[in-house]
Amino acid sequence: MKILLTGARIIDPAQNIDSRMDVFLEDGKIAKKGANLSKSLKSKDSEKTTKIIDLAGMILVPGLIDMHTHLREPGFEYKETIASGSAAAVAGGFTSIACMPNTNPINDNRSITEFIRRKAAEAALANVYPIGAISKGSAGSQLTEFWDLKEAGIIALSDDGKPVMDAALMRRAMEYAYSLGLPVISHCEDTNLSGAGLMNEGYYSTILGLSGIPGIAEEAMVARDILIAEFTNTCVHIAHVSTAGSVRLIREAKKRGLKVTAETAPHYFTLTDESLQSYDTNFKVNPPLRSEQDVAAIKEGLSDGTIDVIACDHAPHGRTDKEVEFEYAANGISGLETSLALSLKLIHDKILGWPELIAIMSVNPASILNLPKGTLETGADADITVIDPLLKWTVDVQAFRSRGKNSPFNGRQMQGKAIMTIIGGEIKYDGQ
């Protein structure tokens, strides 16, 4: 199948491209880019075998990558499956996603990794990259077989959701992983400090009578992991940064040349803890929604490059997990289908320009995870996201492809949406 995409504005931060041109896809690869490719096509009589798609007014970017999702399979298929999560990804404009290991059983051995890859291949939608557990059962005491897991197909390591409290274990994990070229993704939370906390500790936790999770529960671990990375000369990627203090620590570490990268999620630059006043469990996430000052710092961190990546921490849940007392409700937001539009708001609000945002959502995560993705270079995989920047739409969780309907953004007016997702030269989502 050959596809000619015409008339769109092409933004490829990896190559510093931002201009109007046509893109020709052949054999699953980016074959050619240039002005008026349709003319040369005619002369080559291949018009019949080529699908021509007019994308005037659209923005064409390298396939977006979300490096932090929970696909729940195996074990929690009522929340999400690899197939439904992949469908949500492509509908949200994501061509590649990385999935965290906190399934049941935990992805801490080759057989689970292989199972995930097989299910992803059967779904044949997004590229799914499994992340392996740092410790067996994510129990925080014994390292998993990183080497074996890598050969089975993991692209990073993390005990996401179960923070590694033992600093010595974290040190060993970072050293061993670095020697194998595997990034370690750290869910930074000191569980002694977060305790039985349910939301950000501050004025709103005080008036709501909900126990607080202080910002320092995250920051103390960010500081620890930066220190380990410095001491061992290895790298660390900080997951879901939510506080001003974390941004400051990471900024300072980067300034000193340390190999530290970081991500944040759309809810951390969109919502504050004030929205918990209704006790709506859809706002319950970990790390929790923070204060206005934290939101401002996250935006600043995105705009000055301190935060490299936006990843939505897609955490789908069933109704039974959320329709309970706030205290008992599960943490998480089903985010893949709202992430892009919430991020585009950063452009409308002049926090980021188009090329900066696209880099944050494509080439940056690709380079952290060492994936040969995130660019429209000639010869690269034809993974492409087409965005209609003006399309106005309203979030309706019932229309989500994800099984997780848990979104605090239900009913919200959005502008901008992925209208086509192409993976390996095949159209996997067509919302036109």
């Binding site: 936790s205 005080t206 009578g209 909900l210 607080g212 202080p214």
Partner: protein, 308 residues
Amino acid sequence: MKFERKDILGIKELSVDEINLILETAESFLEISTRKIKKVPILRGKTIINLFYEASTRTRTSFEIAGKRLSADTINISASTSSVVKGETLIDTARNLEAMNPDVIVIRHSASGAPHLLARLVKQSIINAGDGAHEHPTQALLDMMTIKEHKGKIAGLNVAIIGDIEHSRVARSNIYGLSKMGANVVLAGPATMLPRDIEQMGVKVYNKIEDAIEGVDVIMMLRIQLERQKQCIFPSLREYSQHYCLNRNNIKLAKKDVIVMHPGPINRGVEISPDIADDPSCSVILDQVNKGVAVRMALLYLLTGGGE
């Protein structure tokens, strides 16, 4: 004034007019409890369910008596005897109760916000009888009624609340209520018992009881829960009582006509010395309990359309 609310979830959302209406209605009900036949037919045919997910003697009994004195049928459900032990969710329990058509559901729950969840789901009136560390609106109303009776007013009074503010729903409801009614509220407790940014509620905060009670009209002592010691918020009852117990000595710092309150149950010798608790010249603790029945009668009456 007509009472328009479906539920009583907290003091935060009540207006001064609504609080005054509730207190005035309660005052008019006080007399019923002094009669020989303590029953009026106002709520005959109405059904009130007391759904208690947390242990309570005083509040549950008070609600039950309030309902019965107004001739309503009151049913008590406590977590240990209900389907909770079988794993039924709060929502399912509520929907089942709703299907039996009660008029009011009174709920106490250890999870903050549980009454709000219920109020969104069922058509019946919900009264919050205490949710987690969030609010305990009927306690604050009975406290305000007690203060008003003894001081003739609330506006302009200085009120000190002493103890574990962090875990106290009584403190939060009283801060809202007393501030709305024009009192000045000060707090005192060890730093570990004062929740973050509490000053933003418009109160002054001290660490020493002596600083807080100096010149006040009302002292409200909170119960120290022994199990909190495990959370490391205080080292020992011994040390706490040495520094935060209201006694003959430090009470002299307050106004001569100070009244002493406590939501109960009291830990004698821990947060309040027995001779203060039992001193009829300052302690109004049992009076609070007495007002509790009247306040709850007033709320049941107003919520079931009594204001019409």
